[in-house]
């Protein structure tokens, strides 16, 4: 199962990682910033396009893979993480990056999120969080504020407190947890690079404004602030999160632990295995 193909590093520029497809994104969408930062990071890490696999579900943000020149898999809504896990576990030499939105990752995909944190297979997960379902035209997502009445599906608000991605990741056992802002391209590229290089499941919540359904998020530009420096102490991380305003950035938690490794065994031939069924004569 492991790669028969050799890694041939070739120096690529940042733009060489972008495909010729014009994104379907609205002008001003935060996701452009993520695409930029991601390609910057891949260029900086000098990972050849063919060694990268970007895996996504469904949503505006989940369209990202096709805008790169890497391998990509744009699967169904909420299932990016298991696809990425299957790939990362069976092809450990690849750079696997799951990407998607807050609805894809925390609503329909919530179960895979918490189990990916626990399983700790070696891939990164970039969530472009705009606290809304962009693609389906503006419904509340798990990270939406409870008093947001902009959705026709919950015209009086969601009646529930927003999902806390970092806190959930921490409780679920993720070893690398960070938050970044799509517009802060260099910082974001830096955090993405650290996530990619981290051995294990690295989760980055990226505040990525939806200019169309959450235009007020354009204010994030003025509001985001550095808040975290990496700790390996869970207690410390929790305490920081209890004071969190949701728009502080940085690496919150970095505590490497062994990556998920499936069972191993001494090699046997198929004939030897078949012989187990034989009846002694």
């Amino acid at each position: 199962m492991s790669g028969e193909h050799q890694v041939k590093p070739r120096a690529l520029a940042h733009k060489d990682y972008k495909s010729s497809y014009k994104p379907v994104w609205c002008a001003g969408c935060g996701d452009y910033g993520v695409l930029n930062a991601l390609t910057k990071s891949l260029a900086a890490l000098e990972i050849p396009t063919e060694q990268v696999a970007l895996i996504s579900g469904i949503g505006c943000s989940s369209r990202l893979p096709a805008y790169t020149r890497a391998y990509g898999f744009h699967g169904v809504h909420g299932r990016a993480l298991p696809v990425a896990a299957g790939l990362a576990i069976s092809r450990p030499e690849l750079t696997v990056i799951a990407v998607g939105g807050d609805g894809d990752g925390f609503s329909i995909g919530g179960n895979h999120f918490i189990h990916a944190c626990r399983r700790n297979a070696n891939f990164s997960y970039l969530v472009m969080d705009n606290a809304v379902y962009g693609m389906t035209k503006g419904q509340a997502s798990p990270t939406t504020e409870s008093d947001w009445t902009g959705s026709k599906l919950a015209p009086q608000g969601t009646h529930q407190p927003p999902f806390q991605p970092l806190e959930m990741a921490l409780a679920a056992g993720a070893p690398f947890i960070a938050r970044a802002f799509s517009n802060a391209s260099n910082e974001l590229a830096q955090i993405i690079s650290e996530a990619i290089e981290f051995p294990g499941f690295a989760f980055v919540q990226i505040l990525s404004p939806c200019v169309t359904f959450r235009p007020e998020q354009l204010n994030w530009k003025k509001q985001v602030h550095e808040a975290f420096s990496p700790t390996a102490d869970k207690r410390e991380a929790y305490l920081k999160l209890l004071d969190d305003d949701g728009i502080g950035t940085g690496i919150l938690y970095r505590a490497p632990r062994p990556c998920f490794q499936p069972d191993t065994a001494a090699a046997r031939s198929l004939a030897a295995i078949a012989a187990d069924f034989e009846v002694p004569a």
Partner: protein
């Protein structure tokens, strides 16, 4: 006694051992099967238990034979009750009659009414007392000795298998086994029982369950990745693969649910490695969205569904063939896929191997429909051959020029880019797309891909394995999957009456090979379609997709009682008498 001994030996006999949980009937049954296999017989053992996880009543039902044994008989020749506990739970499953010999522990008193009403001959035998005389032995082993000697199993084979199964598990000594067995055989001598087997024809045998066989077929086909979520009655496939995959350089991942397991397989397969998951009905229901994704992204994938009684949670521990419709039609949109069905325990190896081969060659998902009967029954069979089928995908070489992942070709199969390979980078998508994989909502693009996804399946030459066709005549029986075994025996009985009958058992369910099927049905003017479902799913599926002889009848029964040869043969005989319009 002498009367019985003089009866001619039989070609097969049916045994049932029953008792409460913990009485050891399953162990006894397994030992008898093992010993028979070692002696050179064929055999089959099915297990029947209550809903309890542990404990509760249990029955081991065996059929041993000189020739291959694929199903249970209509009736039981020899019933052994270690106790009468809740034996009435088995009254509809175990059919007794005046020819049945019933042996029960003498400590247990009278048999229940359904036993006595059958007219079966009843012997009270000191099973537990005898066991008590041999330290460490339990009544179930005494039963093994008695049954074994009544059906004529070789003493050494019995002793060997008991040793293999039991020594080391308690403080049982080899001597005790020897003397206990001898005592049992003496006890059997006073019993009149006309079910001594004809001499075996010793040949290499495999002993395995259908679930293990599926695992073996998967490995032979080339599967190296499995992600799965436990579910009865498929868990043993997963467990077998968890142990074996690492031995061939692969691995199994236990997923958080079936949505994850199938998507993990898709991820692994996207990465180039043949992948499989195994589940049962409820899991398959959860997987249909991803099945459609595999169709649209042309990702090879095998999903084994070990069918159980439905709908919903249904009867998890019993067999039914009622997932055919979802296997064929499950997933929104037009999503053609392969559906295959093994029709015997050995065939679980073959059909799974073929499914892996086909999924890889055709770049699409293949659903393999096994069932609880095949999956959890254990059989002594002729070892299934390793076939030539090895996973082989059409993949892009490094630095290919003008790569288009979904380019159409004469056979509808495209070249796949495998991550790690320079030059064939692309983004697979469940969106409608152009040959380049670029998303598109244009009619011509959509249509091209739909055409190609269907055409590659319909144009492929599946060769002779698409069905098993046996015999000739104007009377036909068309069936699929595990029901084939009882159907084959029914056909043999009708033939023995002097009628010519053709049996067709479909291994390739979808796509339906209309041309070959029409040829296989040529000359048949009366056809019986036999299946184990309430809704006649197979019959309707055939009607939808091909022309059947105008005089076609459906024999469709739900589980949990399996269709038996006698029932099928009787229906065939009625059909034979019917006037063809």
């Amino acid at each position: 006694m002498t009367e019985a001994k003089e009866k001619p030996p039989v070609d097969s006999c049916s045994l049932a051992l029953i008792g409460s949980g913990g009485a050891g009937v399953m162990t006894a049954g397994q030992i008898l099967l093992d010993a028979a296999a070692e002696a050179g017989y064929f055999g089959l053992m099915t297990r029947s238990t209550g809903p309890q996880v542990r404990g509760g009543e249990a029955a081991a039902v065996l059929r041993l034979g000189v020739t291959p044994v694929g199903c249970q008989d209509d009736r039981i020749d020899l019933l052994v009750a270690l106790d009468w506990g809740k034996a009435e739970h088995f009254s509809d499953e175990l059919v007794l009659d005046a020819d049945t010999v019933v042996i029960a522990d003498s400590a247990e008193g009278e048999p229940p009414v359904w036993v006595t009403d059958s007219g079966a001959r009843h012997y009270a035998v000191r099973l537990s007392e005898l066991a008590g005389e041999h330290s460490g032995l339990r009544a179930n082993i005494i039963a093994v000795g008695i049954v074994g000697s009544l059906v004529g199993l070789d003493f050494e084979c019995m002793k060997n298998t008991i040793k293999r199964r039991l020594i080391g598990k308690g403080n049982l000594l080899a001597d005790v086994i020897q003397t206990g067995l001898q005592a049992s055989i003496s006890a059997a001598e006073s019993l009149q029982c006309a079910y001594k087997l004809a001499p075996p024809q010793p040949q290499p045998r495999w002993l395995l369950t259908g679930n293990e066989a599926v695992g073996m077929g998967a490995l032979r086909g080339g599967v190296r990745f499995c992600a799965a979520y436990p579910i009865t009655p498929s868990t043993e496939i997963q467990e077998w693969l968890a142990r074996r995959l690492p031995e061939v350089g692969g691995c199994l991942v236990q997923a958080e649910d079936e949505l994850a397991s199938i998507n993990m397989c898709i991820g692994a397969s996207f990465g180039g490695g043949p992948a499989m998951t195994a589940t049962s009905g409820p899991g398959l229901s959860l997987m249909v969205e991803a099945l459609g994704l595999a169709v649209a992204t042309e990702t090879p994938l095998v999903v084994v569904d070990v069918m159980r009684g439905g709908p919903s949670t249904g009867i998890p521990t019993k067999s039914e063939q009622a997932d055919l419709a979802i296997a064929v039609y499950g997933a929104h949109g037009d999503a053609p896929r392969l559906v295959l069905a093994p029709n015997g325990i050995g065939d679980c190896v073959t059909t799974t191997q073929w499914a892996v081969f086909l999924a890889e060659a055709l770049q699409c998902p293949a659903v393999v429909l096994s069932d609880q009967f095949l999956g959890q029954s254990r059989a002594a069979i002729t070892p299934p051959k390793d076939r030539e089928w090895r996973a082989e995908r059409r993949i892009a070489p490094a630095d290919i020029s003008d790569f288009q992942r979904f380019r159409d070709s004469s056979d509808g199969i495209s070249i796949m880019g495998i991550p790690g390979t320079p030059g064939s980078e692309y983004t697979a998508t469940g969106l409608s797309h152009k040959p380049s994989a670029r998303p598109s909502a244009i009619s011509a693009d959509h249509r091209l891909q739909l055409d190609k996804q269907l055409r590659k399946l319909e144009q492929f030459d599946y060769g002779d394995d698409w069905a098993d066709i046996e015999g000739d005549g104007s009377l036909g029986l068309l069936t699929w999957g595990s029901t084939t075994q009882a159907a084959r025996e029914a056909v043999a009985r009708v033939r023995a009456d002097g009628s010519a009958v053709r049996l067709v058992s479909l291994r390739l369910i979808a796509p339906l090979d209309r041309v070959r099927l029409a040829r296989a049905l040529e000359g048949i003017d009366r056809l019986l379609v036999v299946e184990q479902s309430h809704g006649a799913q197979f019959f309707r599926y055939l009607r939808a997709g091909c022309e059947l002889p105008s005089h076609t009848r459906s024999l469709a029964e739900p589980g949990p009682l399996l269709l038996r040869p006698g029932r099928i043969a009787a229906t065939l005989r009625v059909l034979e008498m019917e006037q063809v319009k």
